[in-house]
């Protein structure tokens, strides 16, 4: 009885099975022939390079993704150091695959926010209620008194793929532990506050301000702005004052007693340490200090 049933099933269904098999075999053979005839020669080096890349697809190298970068770097070895998340070790591995020697790639570039004004430090003329984006807010003249400082709407936060930059009390704050140095935040900032800086030491000193107004004007709009008094430049040539704004020469910076003095003497406390586990910034003097410059 069961046997008859099975036989019956077989008799009615074999054409279906055969058709599917023939169709499948036909395509299998066609694909096999195609894979031999239409083989695209890929340089095995590209495959190898692609495998050692970090696969975060961040685009810091300027290409559409890791596979595109692998292709480009195999053709043009000048691009070897472009992979920011991979850093030095990836650059060395790529050089090994391409059998090249690389010179020292230098210190890794990390973003530095050139502003330290939190909500309480800033002066506002009015409350902004438009599109919550720095680019949009920056198009308006009077969102906040300072035309140079951080707007705090987080264009950099949205640009960051590694959750390494956050807005804390209206100020972009970098988490250097998570940061890979891909420069996405630096490109996103409409006020160009975030600059990529060579980190030669674990903690770097920076002048966290971008305000180019004269000391008096700066003072009137921000508690922690650089008033260009020049006290820091008198201590050490690492600091220079230009356009009413003190700057650190990051290439020359070394932690010395002079730079430490400069940091402590700064009347508005705008010189701060940045980096992983950087010491907390000094609180600015409560009383307004008269500008000397």
């Amino acid at each position: 009885m069961i046997l008859a049933g099975i036989l019956d099933l077989w008799n009615t269904s074999w054409p279906a099975g055969v058709t599917i098999l023939v169709l499948g075999l036909g395509f299998a053979v066609a694909l096999l022939i195609a894979s031999i005839k239409l083989r695209v020669e890929v340089d095995p080096k590209i495959e190898q390079i692609h495998q050692i890349l970090p696969h975060v697809e961040c685009g810091a190298c300027g290409f559409a993704g890791c596979s595109k970068y692998a292709e480009a770097v195999s053709k043009n070895p000048v691009l070897i150091g472009k992979c920011a998340p991979g850093g030095k070790s990836t650059a060395e591995k790529i050089a090994e695959i391409l059998s090249l020697q690389i010179s020292d790639p230098g210190a890794p570039l990390k973003p530095v926010v050139h502003c330290r004004a939190h909500t309480d430090d800033k002066t506002y003329y009015a409350k902004y209620q438009g599109i919550p984006s720095c680019t949009a807010a920056n198009a308006l003249p009077n969102v906040q008194a300072c035309k140079f400082g951080c707007l705090g709407f987080g264009d950099c936060t949205r640009a960051c793929k590694f959750l390494a930059i956050r807005i804390v009390d209206d100020l972009a704050t970098v988490n250097y532990e998570k940061c890979t140095g891909c420069a996405a935040c630096s490109k996103a900032c409409p006020r160009n506050l975030i600059k990529m800086v060579p980190f030669r030491h674990e903690n770097m000193m920076t002048v966290a301000c971008s305000n180019k107004e004269t000391g008096k004007v700066t003072r009137s709009m921000c508690r922690v702005g650089c008033i260009a008094c020049g006290l820091c430049a008198k201590q050490t040539p690492v600091f220079t004052v230009e356009d009413n704004l003190a700057r650190v020469d990051y290439e020359k910076y070394l932690p010395t007693p002079q730079t430490e003095t400069a940091l402590n003497k700064c009347p508005t406390g705008v010189i701060i340490y940045i980096g992983q586990n950087a010491p907390a910034p000094r609180q600015p003097a409560e009383k307004p200090v008269t500008a000397k410059a």
Partner: protein, 196 residues
């Protein structure tokens, strides 16, 4: 003239009135997944158009010349899947070899689409509709692809502007996308019944 009219109506029908995304809810995964940016959405749409046209015609040929004469309509599903996957693979290899620039722009979408429901859905619908000439099949399957392109491009355009909107926290991301998709479907419901 009558034939041209029928073809034109069929073409408009699958694009606007019986759009696969809006009325049959097929192909929703690329519709929601690749609609983040307009240029990639358009690339996806073009790739889908190509694959629908190709597989619609091929499966109809298989159905008309092999399956129907042998009374094997029951095996449509499996045969169609074999035909679609095989043909798309072949075309992908061919494009990669002979048109690398074209491959760079939409090649990555091809293998993703070959297993998409809008393709198999179209092939099965063509059998259900009982379409019995090749030209009609070609027009309908190209139209389906263009309808998908229309849907995904509208969606991508909306989502690009949606980024700048102050959406309530609980609706951010996927929820607002789904709501948008629903509203868009509602809007397209206005066309329902205009063409059979």
């Amino acid at each position: 003239m009558d034939r041209v009219y029928v073809l034109l109506m069929g073409f408009l029908s699958v694009i606007i009135v019986n759009n696969f995304v809006f009325t049959k809810f097929l192909g929703t995964c690329p519709y929601l997944g690749v609609s983040g940016r307009l240029d990639s959405a358009f690339g996806m749409g073009m790739a889908v158009t190509f694959v629908t046209a190709l597989s619609g015609i091929l499966t109809w040929l298989v159905d008309f010349y092999i399956l129907t004469p042998l009374h094997l309509e029951i095996t449509r599903y499996i045969c169609y899947i074999i035909v679609i996957a095989g043909a798309v693979q072949l075309v992908e290899m061919y494009v990669r070899k002979f048109a690398p620039s074209l491959y760079d722009t939409f090649g990555i979408f091809l293998p993703l689409i070959s297993t998409n429901c809008v393709i198999l859905g179209l092939c099965l619908f063509i059998s259900i509709w009982g379409t019995n000439n090749l030209l009609e099949v070609a027009v309908l399957s190209t139209g389906t692809g263009l309808g998908f392109t229309l849907a995904i491009c509208i969606m991508a355009g909306i989502r690009e502007t949606l980024i700048l909107v102050d959406v309530p926290e609980c609706f951010r991301g996927a929820p607002i996308t789904l709501i948008t998709a629903g509203l868009l479907t509602l809007a397209f419901m206005g066309f329902a019944g205009m063409i059979k």
